[in-house]
């Protein structure tokens, strides 16, 4: 092997190594559209006779997550407002009507993660406070949400029951509270019947398939 060939081989090896390192270091894009219907948001509003509780499963969105730098996580989660369901159908109709969420005019509720603070990582689990923009009924407010992120490497195949499918999972959990008045949902009205505060609990998993 002459010197020129050796140099070319070294350059090629370096290029491959750099490409591999870049591939490992690059943030992964997790898609939160869940065909299994497991991803869910639960909400609760206190009311005199019985708390109003409901669920929503129409979740989509993408989050960019780097296992080496969880603090750099960004992305957007979108909830189909029509998927909000409560046990009482009349109550559900009211909830989706123009008096409350007006889902015909504002079909989505979105949360855009802008930055993370107080990031603590232990093993595959990260906790942080996400500052983001929450848009409900067309009104966008900045909110701070405590979240936990769990990175599950190589678990996508197990989740879809197909070992041939390669990829990672990211589980995101958050519990927080918003005021309906902040988002123009009957501000200052019916406070004796339905609380101002809406408790939200988010449990979602995103998938980042590998080729």
């Amino acid at each position: 092997m002459n010197t020129t060939t050796l140099r070319s081989s070294l350059r090629l090896a370096f290029a491959f190594s750099a490409a591999a390192a870049a591939a490992v270091a690059a943030p992964l894009s997790f898609d939160f559209k869940d065909p299994k219907g497991v991803n869910n948001v639960q909400f609760k509003l206190d009311a005199p006779l019985e708390s109003i509780t409901g669920t929503a499963t129409g979740i989509s969105g993408k989050i960019s997550f780097d296992p080496a730098k969880p603090g750099a996580t960004t992305g957007t989660i979108v909830l189909d407002a029509k998927s909000l369901t409560v046990g009482n159908p009349m109550m559900g109709d009211h909830l989706r009507s123009d008096q409350w969420l007006d889902v015909a005019k504002h079909p989505t509720i979105t949360f855009e993660a802008v930055s993370l603070a107080n990031v603590r990582t232990q093993g595959t689990a990260t906790t942080a406070e996400v500052t983001g923009k929450l848009t409900v009924k067309g009104i966008t407010k900045e909110v701070k949400v405590p979240v936990s992120l769990t990175y599950l490497a190589d678990k996508l195949g197990a989740r879809v029951n197909d070992p041939k499918v390669k990829g990672d999972l990211l589980v995101l959990r958050a519990n927080f509270e918003i005021n309906r008045s902040d988002f123009g949902i009957k501000p200052g009205q019916m406070t004796d019947k339905v609380s101002e505060a809406i408790q939200l609990s988010l449990s979602i998993a995103g998938a980042a398939p590998r080729a």
């Binding site: 497991v38 991803n39 006779l49 019985e50 769990t150 678990k155 989740r159 449990s203």
Partner: protein, 98 residues
């Protein structure tokens, strides 16, 4: 007169049946102390992600408005029966003779 008596009896019987049906439905579906629900949620756990997720199924769970509405309707029927009985009693009483 006999017809009116039969009507009163039927009204009271219907009132009792409505009240019992309302209470019975409420108790039979779990005596739920909130509003009527047409679906119920059970929580399940996704084994891989550990996420608890709701599974909603159709289920009729009578709320407190069912026995309350039944009681209201029964009260109206019983009231009509009482008024009818008083009227027939008033019709039977002979007018005072001077």
């Amino acid at each position: 007169m006999q017809n009116r008596s039969r009507l009163n009896l039927a009204l009271r019987g219907t009132a009792a049946a409505v009240l019992l049906a309302g209470l019975g439905t409420w108790v039979a579906t779990g005596a739920h102390r909130g509003w009527t629900q047409t679906s119920a949620v059970t929580m399940q756990k996704d084994e891989i992600t550990g996420i608890d997720y709701p599974v909603r199924r159709d289920a009729f769970v009578a709320g407190v408005e069912i026995p309350l509405a039944a009681a209201g309707l029964a009260a109206v029927l019983a009231g009509v029966s009482l008024i009818s009985r008083r009227r027939s009693a008033a019709g039977l009483t002979p007018a005072p003779q001077n």
